[in-house]
Symmetry: none
Subunit: 252 residues, 2 copies
């Protein structure tokens, strides 16, 4: 393991778990505690972590570079994205919706992923250009600038010619009675068309969308295989969804 790689690893741990115990990491990586301590000392000197007795903690969010916050997806979306990545099978075909949560999924996909990704979002397509093993298929059509995806008759028609194992769909509203909803009729139709072309459809929904509804219905619950969210599993709405027979994958 490269020294610089190890530093990245430490920062990753810090972001994911919120703390680092020097002893544990040393054992895990098979290196001496001294090296871990030295790394932590260096990172602390650069303001990338806060050194504490026994390990290190993240620097307070306010201090973190503004740019870093911009580029990194909000915590909820990142959690949902990494849970969603677990559903993707190598060698399969994946339909990936547009939107910021789907973009987080695209970024979380392993760089050497060997599968076909079908999308109607130029942004997602651009984000996947550096995945050399992934076959990439873009559904054309009129571009809806608001959400940066193609919609309309041409896009729906293009979708009719593809099939996939899995469809990961973003929505703006997730409600027990209203079902899955979004704010634009064309977009709703497009999402429906995408979902219809996949064996399984999972919904990407960070916690703030749970229990809310938008103007246009995308799908009823019976048409989706499951929901991926970072909401509390004990949440009332989440419990309600479970009683409806919805498979809820909790991301953390």
């Amino acid at each position: 393991m490269l020294a610089a790689e190890r530093r990245d690893h430490l920062l990753g741990l810090l972001a994911r778990k919120g703390k680092i115990v020097a002893k544990e990491v040393a054992a895990e990586l098979g290196i001496s505690e001294d090296s871990v301590r030295r790394d932590l000392r260096d990172l602390a000197a650069e303001g990338l972590c806060q050194r504490v007795y026994g390990g290190a903690l993240p620097v307070s969010p306010a201090v973190v570079d503004y740019e870093a916050r911009q580029t990194v997806a909000p915590d909820g979306k990142r959690k949902v994205a990494s849970a969603a990545v677990g559903l993707v099978r190598p060698g399969g075909a994946l339909i990936l919706d547009g939107g910021t949560t789907a973009l987080a999924v695209a970024r979380a996909l392993p760089a050497d992923l060997d599968c076909t990704v079908i999308t109607h979002s130029p942004t997602i397509a651009a984000a996947l250009l550096d995945h050399p093993q992934a076959e990439l298929f873009l559904l054309g059509g009129r571009v809806f600038k608001h959400s940066a995806v193609t919609c309309g008759a041409a896009a729906v028609e293009a979708a009719q010619n593809i099939s996939a194992d899995l469809c990961l769909l973003g929505v703006t509203g997730v409600h027990p009675e209203a079902g899955l909803t979004t704010g634009d009729a064309e977009e709703a139709a497009m999402k429906r068309a995408l979902s219809a072309r996949a064996a399984d459809t999972y919904i990407l929904a960070s916690s703030e969308k749970i229990g809310t509804a938008s103007r246009f219905r995308v799908l009823p619950w019976k048409k989706v295989s499951g929901l991926i969210t970072d909401a509390d599993p004990q949440d009332t709405v989440v419990e309600q969804l479970k009683t409806l027979g919805v498979e809820v994958l909790v991301a953390s």
Copy 2:
């Protein structure tokens, strides 16, 4: 093994594995660590990887994005782009090819431009998202990662359903006898399909492309309306083109 081949191999490793250990690669390829280190040093100088003790790591995605946004097009491409923008008529329809020169055109288009832009490049589409008045149409298909455009049967078919007043095409070779050429057969076919759907086709070619030829013919001279270049109008090749009846728009 060729030096350039080796460089590609290194970049591939970086993408697939996320890191390079100089010692390992040297052993694997049967060359000295010095050569590997030299390559890594060069790649790092071009911003293609991050050199670290013991090997190299990928440049962080955030940095790439940032750099891509920051990098202004080379002077030649910028000149060509601004000359090309002069051909675009408000209210009309424009077919915009992929590639860096076309991207420069997209960026040079006025933000309040009121026209329809048709493209097969997700990158170009993404660049035009903030042009509120422009209608944007994306041609779908299999994405060719190398040049970040859609190609193949589906893309060509999608192109059959559109029409435009003007097509701005990038090529890699501009030669009096060989005509307009590019390095990939699929791309050449796609460019032909785009050109066929527009009343006028103009070629975007910064000066370094003048007088060169690539493997696959895109179009013969008689099919294009003109050439937009920043090359010297007195240049021998440019003079030759003029005698062939090619309209040459000199960008400056």
